[in-house]
Structures are given as structure tokens and as C-alpha cells.
């Protein structure tokens, strides 16, 4: 999470634009939801987020089987919301948040009131918590074990002699306190088109500008596209690195172990 005095500087807008375009699905499907507002155990209002309000189930008991409602109405999501539930949820969260907490702790404060409402005041199909991608517990433990509290990492995608997109993050005491791109190197080293040499010179320049780099990952646009499309990107990263299609420099021992374990961790 972010440190309260995080610096987010020298973000090259072209780097962001290219990364966003690369990561955004070309034709995102328009998702439709049905929201059923309920009060005193009766549906009082139904809204299809594409078609508009309707009197679907008006006055009836809230449905138990939201999946069946989704199928009946041809929507992707169904939410059944008790009239006072949003107020209860917000009140629960706000009474627990304070400015001495880290951002992570503040976000986590939402968990308990959310858990209290989900399944009672707010029911959602499909179950959003179950639908969230979850790492196996052992994978989480490995990640935690191998993640240092203080380090700086850079990821750079090269396009010939140019940096196509990049991200540099410095973690201090477990929180990001610097986020930037290679634009912070202005004017930056002259690149040659040789990935290994360019990686070395970019790391050197970053170290003289911002401090020690613990991990650097350098790839081509084709490499990035391969990783994005791959169901297990960390495993794919390990494979590409072993074939020297991706340059990892510096390549600390923890990262070597992590990539070696990637196939086992199924991520």
C-alpha cells in the first residue's frame, strides 16, 4: 500500500497510455446488473442498469436464488440491497477508520462491516468474494517470506532503442514511498537496442538518481504481450527469463527462488 507521504513523480503519460492500452481488453463486454431494493422483506424497486427501472418482483419477498433471477432476466449480476444496508455499512466502516492507521489498515477496516452485510443486508450474485482470484495460502506465505520490507524495483518494456513503458517502485518499511517511471532520469542514458546492455545502463542511471535498485525486469513489447495473455504470468516470466528473452538485472536471490517456485505456486 501507499505511504502517507508517497511521491508519485515523473510519470511519463505515454508510458501510462501504452500500459493501459496493453492491459485493457480490446472489446470489453458491457456488463448488466439487476439491483433489487428491499424494505421490510419486500422488493420495493428494481433497476436494470442498462434497461432502466421496472416493477420486476415489486411487492414480493426478496428472491432467495439470485442465480435463477440472473438467468431469468439475462443479467450478469444481481444485487439485493436492503434499504438501510448502505448506511449501516458506511457507518460501520467510518467508525473504525482513523488517521493513525496505514492505508492498508484503513481499507481492511471495511472488511468487518462488509462481511456483516454480505449475505444479509446486501446479497450479490455471483458471490464477489468467492469470484476474486485467490492465491493458495502457501503461495501467499512464500510471497510474504520472499518480499523484503525495503527495496526498489523497476520494470521496463523496450521498443528498439526507446523505452515503451516503465514503472519504478520503491518500498520502504513495507509501503510504497516512491512511484515513478524512467522519465525521472531525464535525459536518461542513450539506448542501443541491445536489451542486456540497455538494462545495465538504465539500472545504473536509476541508481545514481534514486538509489539502489534491487530488482530490474526488462522485456520487449512482444514479451509483455506474451505475459499479459498468459494464464500464469509469473511462471511465464520464469520461462522467458531462462531463455534470455527477458532480462532480469539485478536478479536477487529471493527473486530467483520466487521464480523457481512459480510453477509450484500456480501463479
Amino acid at each position: 500500500m501507499l505511504s502517507s507521504d508517497v511521491q508519485i513523480i515523473d510519470i511519463h503519460p505515454d508510458h501510462v497510455e501504452r500500459a493501459v492500452e496493453a492491459l485493457t481488453p480490446k472489446r470489453p463486454k458491457q456488463r448488466r446488473a439487476l439491483i433489487l431494493f428491499c424494505e421490510e422483506n419486500r422488493v420495493i424497486h428494481a433497476v436494470d442498469t442498462v434497461k432502466g427501472p421496472s416493477d420486476f418482483m415489486n411487492g414480493e419477498r426478496p428472491p432467495r436464488d439470485l442465480k435463477a433471477v440472473a438467468a431469468e432476466c439475462g443479467v450478469d449480476f444481481v444485487a439485493c440491497v436492503e434499504r438501510d444496508a448502505p448506511a449501516r455499512l458506511l457507518a460501520g466502516a467510518q467508525s473504525k477508520i482513523n488517521i493513525d492507521q496505514t492505508l492498508f489498515e484503513q481499507v481492511m477496516s471495511l472488511r468487518e462491516p462488509l462481511r456483516r452485510e454480505l449475505g444479509s443486508g446486501v446479497r450479490i450474485y455471483p458471490d464477489i468474494l468467492a469470484a476474486m482470484p485467490r492465491l493458495p495460502d502457501f503461495a501467499l506465505k512464500i510471497l510474504k517470506l520472499l518480499s523484503p520490507k525495503n527495496f526498489m524495483a523497476m520494470v521496463v518494456v523496450l521498443d528498439g532503442k526507446d523505452v515503451w513503458t516503465s514503472a519504478v517502485v520503491r518500498i520502504t518499511n513495507g509501503e510504497a514511498d516512491l512511484i515513478t517511471t524512467t522519465d525521472t532520469l531525464r535525459p536518461g542514458p542513450e539506448l542501443t537496442g541491445d536489451m542486456a546492455r540497455d538494462a545495465a545502463s538504465l539500472v545504473k542511471a536509476m541508481e545514481s538518481a534514486r538509489g539502489k535498485v534491487a530488482l530490474g525486469i526488462f522485456m520487449s513489447r512482444a514479451g509483455l504481450e506474451h505475459l499479459i495473455a498468459h494464464p500464469r504470468p509469473l511462471g511465464a516470466l520464469a520461462a522467458l527469463a531462462s531463455r534470455k528473452w527477458i532480462v532480469i538485472h539485478p536478479y536477487p536471490r529471493r527473486a530467483r527462488i520466487l521464480l523457481a517456485l512459480a510453477p509450484l505456486m500456480k501463479i
Binding site: V6, V16, V81, P86
Partner: protein, 717 residues
Amino acid sequence: MSVSISRNGVEIDGKVLPLISGEAHYWRHERKDWAAVLDGVVEMGFKFICTYIPWSVHEIEKGRFDFGDTDPRKDVGAFVDMAGERGLFVLVRPGPHINSELTFFGYPERILRREELLMRTSSDTPAIIPAPPRFFPAPSYASEDFYSEVAVYFDALRPILEPRTHPNGPIVGVQADNEMSFFFRTSPFDVDYSAPAIGLFRRFLRDKYEGEIDALNRAHRSNHKDFDRVMPPRRYEPCEMSALPWHFDWCAFKEFYLYYGIKRIADMLRARGLSEAFFFHNFPGGQSSSPFHIPMTETAVDAAGIDLYESRKNYPLIRDSVRLAAGTSRLPFSPEFGSGIWPWWKPLFLKDQEFATRAALMNGLKAVNFYMIADRDRWYGAPMARDGSARPSRFRFYANLNRFIRDTRFNEFSMRNDVLLLSVREYERFEQIVSLAHPVEAGLLGGVPRDWLTDPKPPAGMREPVGMLYRRQWRAMMMGFTQAGFPPALADSSVDLYVLDKFPVVAAPSFEFMSMALQRNLLVYALKGGVLVLGPRIPVFDEKMRRDTKFTSHMHEPVGYRDRMQVGGMIFERVDLFNPKRPFLSEGQDVCSYISPTEKGSIIHLGFMFQDYTGYDRSPGLAAIMKRIAAVAGLKARYTSSDPLIETALHERGPDRLLFVANPTGEPRSAAVSLGDNETLSDADTGELAAGPAAKINLPEYSVRIFNIHGAAAAKV
């Protein structure tokens, strides 16, 4: 030696300058880079530069401030001087709220630790603002102790700002606080329920009812012994229609609360030697009119504008926000217009900035501060990097824009609108009162129209769910007039009568109740010769839900009702039928709309609900109805597009004409735009010519083209 604002910009010592500005934050740049940033601003052609002055950055500890003594980046005085040396005028925004993506929005942390200074929610919790990198509790602008703290900071600013304010220095504009909006928590029953806020509510009621508790009791149907016992509503409970005035008074108070905060801050700054500058405020854009109140705010500051950070995919929101500001404010101004974006928000790229800027000018924006003009901590996408070096394509865009505004004297042009569509404040308040999203601001829920999320059951005694119907009727009127070739001006219904008088046609959705002041204004407008369009209902109650109407002698009682009715291929709903002398719309014997002549004008009553039009729909039937309405006023559409999804806007300055043509869709389109006899168009960017009578114009996806209109007919229009 004076500074004032006019419709065309800022008048400084008798000379009117277009208010086109760029924002840079001195404390976020290395001192050595200030010159490059300011030189870049000048090179792009800006005449104004704007900056926040953050309380939390300058305050070292309570009562001790660093204005450059320790950290040279904090020398705001030197920054203002350097801007002045380059011929730039300066706008300052000293907060105390500045947001600016600063942790705690620019308030010193110690302020947020004092519970007695904070807002409370209707659930009696602190009002937490979920803004990275740290959520924080919001302060209350009803707290006197809060203003006492602010006064210490403003006192410290005085020796720096006063000697640099016009005519002694380059500061010509001052913003009083920032995005006053309960920190974007605009749901009526969310905040502020702190003790000072409830006290202010009671004071507001005492003033409104002139100290007469009986008058309040009659309005609220209550039996309070004195004003100190009145409590605010904390949620909407389905109720009798007669209980609504209590809720309406709370909404009106929340509008007053924002005005009160802005006025307090503006007065404090004026009292500290800044009174020669013009004062302004910026409301967040894209939200409902209430709790924002531009006409009331403009009694506290000279101009109240709207902030806009919109992508090219949000044309309707850009159009409607800008037109509402253009129709309501003294100076259509966006004190923050996205030039880049903060990292935890939806990305905004150059193609968004280009489209949004041109679309805003097309729809009447006359003054703008591009936020930001140089990248900085927690910001990217500006035309300059943090060190002041140009990001060439972005830099070029703003340089060309300034050149266009200067060469055409664009600030002197006015958008031609023959139709005014009103945003009716009492219906928008009601829509918020009955929102089922409470306490979440409905506008935040993923683009679902807020009227869709309202309680469909009207209060007992009210005929219809006005919260569900108002905006739907408004949208249909907006789309119909637009596609008929009469792009309407928009205005808040609280504007003065003289604003209405400028338009041959004024339209407003209307229901059973309407404030007596608005009823009076609308009737006087129609009596004086205007064509007034109302419907689906003619108001028979005032804002206190007392049976009272101004329209009795002009309107017809319904003689029948249909749930649905087909007229000329269109489906109308909730249809009243009439037996009038002058039918306007009918099917067979069934008349659902009529014209009622007044002394010199007329009232057209559309006694039905239109269907719900959202997004980019086409409806020739709807456009045909609006054309007939315009014909009653003797209006004829000009520069219409053959493609109803392509919008046009005419801007005029004497005989000079500019025509904006916009494609707000994600596909390239081409359209034939009708021109007058012997008229031709030339593209203001490329010089490309197009001739009439139907000029074929190609438009790439999400694009706005600007044309000069040439030809003898243009001068005659």
C-alpha cells in the same frame, strides 16, 4: 485601477482579457525549475497562472509558517514575483481546503485530530474521506473554531499576498476554498450533523421564517416550541406529501451551508487585503444542481465555476455541465479543467483533453484554468514535465488553443441558443431526497442515471413519483430540441427572470408542485411574449405543498387519462387528456397537449411523459415535436446535421460566425450540414473548405471540428 469579471473574461484596468490559465504548484517543483515552468506557460500563450497555497505545506507547527525561509520551494512570494516579471497575472487559491491530491487535502493533521472541528454523519460517525494515500475525517465548515484556526493561517499569508495584489502586484484573482461539496458527499442525509451544523440549520430556519416558530410549524406540520428544538431529518421515511417541506428545508439549508462556507472564507480573505482581486469558486462538475447553487454563490464571490475531468467518452456530461454553467453563471468558467490526471483516477490522455476542451468551448465555456500545466507529484499528463521541459504534442495543443482564442477573439463570441431548458431545483432536491442509494451519492454508482435509483412510490397525496420522472422528461426535452436543430441553453431555475427573457422558448419539466417564485417567473415570461413549455403536469401546489397555482386561468383541467398512448408513432406514458380550444398533439379525438395563449405569448402544455432516452438515441418523432414547438415561436433551425448524433453549435460575434460540429461517438461519421444561401465553411484548423447548401463534413471518432462561416447570408442571419 480595478479588476472585475465580465461575460468575456477578466477586465483589468479597463482591458478585457480572456481568462485562459494554467495551474502550477511552486512547492512541488525544484526552485531552479520555476523559471522554465513559467517560461513555458508564457510560450504556450497563457496570460494567467494559477496556484494553490497549501496550509499544511507552509505550517511547520501551530502558528509557525515557512514561506521560503527554510525551504526555498515554499517561497510563494518569489513565485508570484517571477510570474509577474514575465507579464503573467496570477490567480491564488489559498484554501483552506485544496485537495490537490495532497495527503489530508491540505489541512494540517492537527486540525483533523480535533474532533470538535469535524463533520458528523447522520449515523453519528466522523465523515471519512476515502482519498489515498490516507483516508481522513472531514472538517465542518459550520464550526467557529475551525474558522478561528483558518484565520491564523490567513493572517500569516497577508504580508505575502496583500502587497502582491493588483494594482501593486500580479495577483488578480482569488479562489475562496475549493470544491465546496461536503467533500463530494452530496447525498442529502449523509452529512453534516455536527452540533455546529445543526445550530447553523436552526439559524437558517430562524432567518427563513423570520423568527416566527408558528410559521415554521405551519410549513413543517410540526409543533416545536422554539427553533432550538428543530432537528434535521436523517433519512427519508415514506411520508405524507405535506411532510416534505421539512426535507426541502434541509436541502435548502445544505445549499446555504456551502454558500455560507464560501462566503466566510471569501470575506476573511478580502479583509486581509485581497479585496481588489476578483473572487471565484469551483464546484465539482457532473453532479446535480443541488446542493450547489451558482446564483446564490455569486452573491458571495464574483464567479462560481465547475471543475471538469472528463474523457472523450463523456460528451453528454461535458455538454450539460458546461451549458448549465454558461446559462447560470456570470462567467462560464472551469477553474479546474483536466490537463492530465492524478494517478488513482481513470486515465485521461491527450486525445481526451483535446476532445473535452473543444467540446467545452463548443458548449459555451468562456474561461478555463488548465489543471495542471506542469506535471508534479501525484500528477501526470500535463504539457510540461516537472522540470518545465515540454511534452511536445501536449505543449503544441495548448499553444495552438491559445493562438485560436487570441486570433479569433473567441471570448467575445456567444453561443446562439433560442431555447432555454431549465434544471428545476425543487425536483432535483426531491430526486435526492427519495434516492434509494442513500447515503451514497447516486451519481457515483457507475453511470446509472440517478433518477433510476429513486423510490418509485410517491409520498401519500402526491400523484406521481416525481423523483423518477423529472430527469427522464428533462432528458427527452434536451435530446428532442438538440436533434431538432435547437441546441438548448441550460440554466438553474433559480436564475432571475431577465435570463428567461433572452430566449424565445423556455422549457421546464413540471409536476404537481413548484415553488411560487418559479411559477411566477415562468408565467410572467409567458405573459411578456415567450413560448413556455411545461409538462407533464401543471403545478397546483407550492413548495410548502399548499394548494396554490399561478396558472389557473391559462390551463385546462384533464378530462381523461391513459397509461399509454401512441401519437404519431411515438409512445407517451401517464397521459392526461384535455378538451382545449387549441390542441397541439392528439390522436383521433384524444388531445394530450394544447397551446394556451397568454397576453403576448403562449404556454404549451405537454400532458404526458416521454419515453426514457439515455445514451445516443435517435428519435425523429421527438425532434418533430420540438420543431413544432419552435415554430410556435417563429424559429427555424439552422446549420442542422443530417445525422442526429452529430451536434452543431453556432457562435456569433456581430457578423462573425463560428460553427462547431461534434461527433461524440466512438465511430467515424459524416454528415451533411445545412448552410444558408451562398454560405461556405472553412475549417479553422486546416483551412479545408466545404460548400452548401448541404456541406458534407467528415468527422473522426470523438472529434470536434471548428469552421468559419463565410458568405453574405452569414451576416444577415
